[in-house]
Symmetry: C2
Subunit: 255 residues, 2 copies
DNA sequence: ATTATCTCATTGTCTGACAATGTCAAATAC
DNA sequence: GTATTTGACATTGTCAGACAATGAGATAAT
């Protein structure tokens, strides 16, 4: 991304590099700064110690002493992890692991604007992903996953009919579908978008409880996914998402 | 996201709070730490000064002096922004804005695993998004956007036919389409996934130059998008993505 | 005009200190 | 004996000052 130095003309700047192929074989040397090494050491430690989400990391002083670097270096490394949501830190308490870490993890930050328009945008993107995940789930789900989907549906319908707060059951139900898609990235991104959606929604509008009218449709959704009827499952999912979208639009216009 | 504290039973822990409604009306006080305020001040400054991507931020010392906090506090705040990909910092040079910032931005970190399987997964998700973005672009693009798409196509075809490195032109071409979709979130997420894809790809396999065989198809893609023929545009896009997917699969199997 | 060198501004790291706050155990009250 | 309060301690947060490492731009040399 730092290679933004070419106007159309720059293609002609070949006077020096007589042999492009040789140059092309070179790969940029990784610039290793101190806190990157700290991060690597931390990853190694976490893997070796088998730390799980919720576990506490060693204190800054311990780490600094052990790795033989200043505490501020440790702090900066941890701060960048905090920015990426991998750890949470609490004054007086300690630092705890908030996401799974392994030597081959990679972190993708996405920035959104916190405004009403974003509601429709996040919903638009999420819809596309959910529909595809639903389609894949109908095709790929194995027996165990189908049973999980059915079970989660029952919990959802129970909560809904009892007048309880069904949102968590709803999240679990859709989570089961997304997991059955066979591509965990769908579920991960959908969840992130869902969280963002709620963050945006709750901020100006209070509690989010959208799509109540769509809950009865979930029984059909589960049915078609479990049957492996991808087309119908997609159709129902589309219907559900449309209901939510309509509600969102109504709320936005109302303001 | 911090409100994950409800087992079903916890609803019964009401012995003290006689009046739940009163309690419910309370919202948690934002815990403002020093560097959060620094971040807020920075956002304000960036908005006021109208800083754009690529612009330089004031130096750490200037910020520390101006905001009346220690330099390390400034550094930690900047570090967390760095972790979120909002700024890049260069020793000896300075700090540069790398993403759009505004007071209502929100930052979503996503973690992926860096492995061969992820290639197909990221590509799978990206495909869905690109196809939808293409469809929307064919429907929504305005005159200016159509012209931009055509112009970018010409540059791409020129680079390709001259045997130059066409990847940046390709990125710009698709960027124009994604922007024309009318939902910037598509473009943002696609770009992130694209970067991740390349990170994963380049690491074990060297230079990424996938989809060369698909470049000639881009002329049709542009044609249909500009004409507003969404169905055909989607079909061509699908074809392009399939070519890339086939190549990725071949490379993975070969190892 | 090109290249090499120098200077300086800027970020990176270290040290040491104190502040602010959550945790946990001891002390206290019932 | 049990529940509550209190306080010592550990831990993260912030500050200040110093020096190192590096990149960019100015300057000098060819």
């Amino acid at each position: 991304m730092n290679t933004k130095n070419k106007n159309p003309q720059s293609a002609k700047n070949v006077k020096k590099s007589a042999n492009n192929n040789v140059i092309r074989a070179l790969r940029p040397i990784k610039k290793r700064t101190r806190d990157m090494e700290v991060i690597d050491a931390l990853i190694e430690m976490i893997e070796a110690a088998g730390l799980k989400i919720g576990d506490r990391l060693p204190t800054e002083n311990e780490l600094a002493k052990k790795l033989n670097v200043g505490r501020s270096t440790i702090r900066e490394a941890l701060k960048s992890w905090q920015g990426m949501g991998i750890i949470t830190r609490n004054k007086g308490a300690g630092t705890i692991l908030a996401a799974e870490v392994s030597s081959n993890s990679i972190y993708v930050p996405i920035t959104l604007k916190l405004e009403a328009e974003s509601l429709l945008r996040t919903h638009g993107v999420r819809s596309v992903l959910e529909i595809e995940a639903t389609r894949l789930a109908a095709i790929n789900a194995n027996e165990k996953q189908r049973r999980l989907i059915s079970a989660r549906l029952e919990i959802l319908m129970y909560d809904f009919e009892m007048g309880d707060d069904w949102r968590e059951a709803d999240a679990l139900f859709h989570g089961a579908i997304n997991e059955a898609s066979g591509n965990p990235l769908f579920g991960q991104m959908i969840k992130q978008l869902h969280d963002v959606f709620n963050d945006i929604y709750v901020e100006p509008l209070g509690e989010a409880r959208l799509g109540e009218a769509s809950i009865p449709l979930h029984r059909n959704l589960a049915k078609y996914v479990v049957e492996g009827n991808a087309d119908e499952a997609v159709r129902v999912m589309q219907e559900i998402l449309d209901i939510v979208q309509t509600e969102v639009k109504a709320i936005i216009n109302e303001r």
